[in-house]
């Protein structure tokens, strides 16, 4: 559901309102600048509510920033991934190819120059050597290299070796182990990386781990907000800054209103209201007693004192309005009910849902009670 036209519609409304009150401003002798200020303030406040994209918003730096940071982190992830990949190719493949190369390398001189018997002797020692667990990789490699040159007898031996599965793997084990270790290391590294990536994914949601990554993996947001479709979206750092700034400004204003910057008379008047409210509150709590009802009637002659007057009801209503500001303001043409099924035709409405605003000319709603 798009709300692209909202910005344009709101812009029209603002222009129209400003233009139509210009005369009133002139009549009351208010400076022209004030009207412009009003318009600007209105637009800024509206932008801060972030309910739609407005034509007066400066072409937002936020989305590009987000995308560049995303691109940067993607690039960083890639950069982190590629060294590993090249490492595998450069380091692992020579090791793999080293074996086949070393076999003929060792084999050729032996088969050409040296007597086979010696070879056989050497070869015979092989099994005993091979069975030793303390072999280093080179010995294993040499031993293995000898096998191909041995003829008949030795080929048999080789076959025997191959048939004995317990030995060949053992013989190869140092290298394989190395490789396996390396592969495991690699896998671990990759897993760690993946976990990190997942962590990055998770971090913005729970907010805590983000503090650990203050390096190149740039986090713009740790605050989540629901977008138009109700999906959670990260707020960028700039957006958060804006929110904080607005909050601080509002606080400051509250402090001023609370009496710091006000003339004494106004400040005390405010306090008077506040204390009166307190008194009301205490009165309300006293109301629970039940015996005070006569007094209540004395205090407020207009009160009907039905359940509808229950102060708790007002509280409930407040809760309704507080629910994320999901609200539709509109006109109704028709409201019909058949048993528990309601049907209504609404028009000229403004709908606020999930922090986005929509305008409509006509709306039909069907709901069951």
């Amino acid at each position: 559901m798009s709300n692209q036209n909202v910005g344009a519609v709101y812009d029209i409304i603002i222009q129209e309102v400003i233009n139509s009150v210009r005369v009133d401003f002139e009549e009351t002798g208010t400076e022209e600048g004030v009207l412009d200020d009003l318009k600007k303030k209105w637009q800024i406040k509206l932008s801060q509510m972030n309910v739609a994209t407005f034509p007066w918003d400066p072409k937002p730096e936020l989305p590009p920033q987000q995308s560049t940071s995303a691109a940067a982190s993607a690039a960083a992830a890639q950069a982190a991934a590629t060294p590993v990949a090249s490492y595998t190719q450069s380091t692992l493949s020579p090791q793999v190819s080293a074996q086949p190369i070393s076999l003929p390398g060792h084999g050729l001189p032996h088969s050409n120059g040296l007597p086979i018997k010696q070879e056989a002797g050497l070869a015979r020692t092989d099994p005993s050597v091979k069975q030793e667990p303390g072999l280093d990789g080179q010995a294993g490699q040499q031993n293995y290299a000898l096998h191909p040159q041995q003829q008949q007898h030795l080929q048999n031996l080789q076959q025997q070796h191959q048939q004995r599965p317990g030995q060949v793997p053992q013989q190869l084990s140092p290298q394989q182990q190395q490789q396996q270790q390396y592969r495991q290391g690699l896998a671990n590294a990759m897993q760690q990386q993946r976990m990190q990536a997942q962590g990055q994914h998770i971090a913005p949601q729970n907010g805590l781990p983000a503090a650990q990554h203050d390096g190149a993996t740039a986090y713009e947001g740790i605050l989540m907000q629901r977008d138009a479709n109700g999906n959670p979206v990260e707020l960028s750092r700039v957006e958060i800054d804006n929110m904080l700034h607005a909050q601080i400004l509002a606080r400051g204003k509250q402090m001023e209103g609370g009496g710091l910057m006000l003339p004494l008379k106004q400040a005390t008047r405010n306090r008077g209201i506040a204390s009166k409210r307190d008194a009301d509150a205490s009165h309300v709590s006293a109301h629970d007693g039940g015996d005070d009802e006569l007094k209540d009637e004395d205090l407020d002659d207009d009160a009907i004192n039905s359940d509808l007057d229950d102060p708790n009801d007002d509280k409930d209503d407040d809760d309704d309005e507080d629910d994320g500001g999901h609200m539709m303001l509109c006109m109704y043409d028709k409201v019909q009910r058949v048993k528990n099924k309601w049907k209504c035709t609404l028009k000229d409405g403004v709908l606020t849902v999930n922090g986005r605003e929509y305008v409509f000319h006509k709306a039909t709603g069907e709901y069951e009670w």
Binding site: I13, T30, K347, W369
Partner: protein, 113 residues
């Protein structure tokens, strides 16, 4: 209250109205405009919003949900609907909300006067 100018002040509770009221409050606080002038601005706002929504907006909306509370008082319907699905007719995507409050004034009263 709204009878004096034929338009409801209903839309003042929307974001557009709230921000305008805020901006006006700021100016009043700084003593740059009087409260009466602010009231005039708001009545103009009531008219402009109603007219603009009527004339400039064409979008249609349908929604479904379960009605939690209904109230009809002084010609104003108030509905509290739960698990609402909204659908604009211009595209098929929907928006879901767990709870929406609808405040609706009679369209007729506007036309009659």
């Amino acid at each position: 209250m709204a009878a004096s100018n034929n338009f409801y002040d209903l839309y003042r509770h929307g974001s557009l109205g709230v921000t305008l009221t805020d901006a006006l409050d700021d100016l009043i606080g700084d003593e740059r405009i009087d409260p009466q002038l602010a009231m005039k601005v708001l009545t103009q706002f009531d008219r402009v919003v109603a007219e603009t929504l009527q004339e400039k907006v064409k979008a249609r909306l349908t929604f479904k949900g379960s009605l939690d509370t209904y109230r009809f008082c002084d010609e104003v319907w108030t509905f509290l609907i739960r698990n609402v699905t909204f659908k604009m007719d211009n595209n098929s995507s929907t928006v879901v909300a767990d709870k929406v409050k609808i405040v609706s004034c009679s369209a007729k009263r506007n036309d009659d006067k």
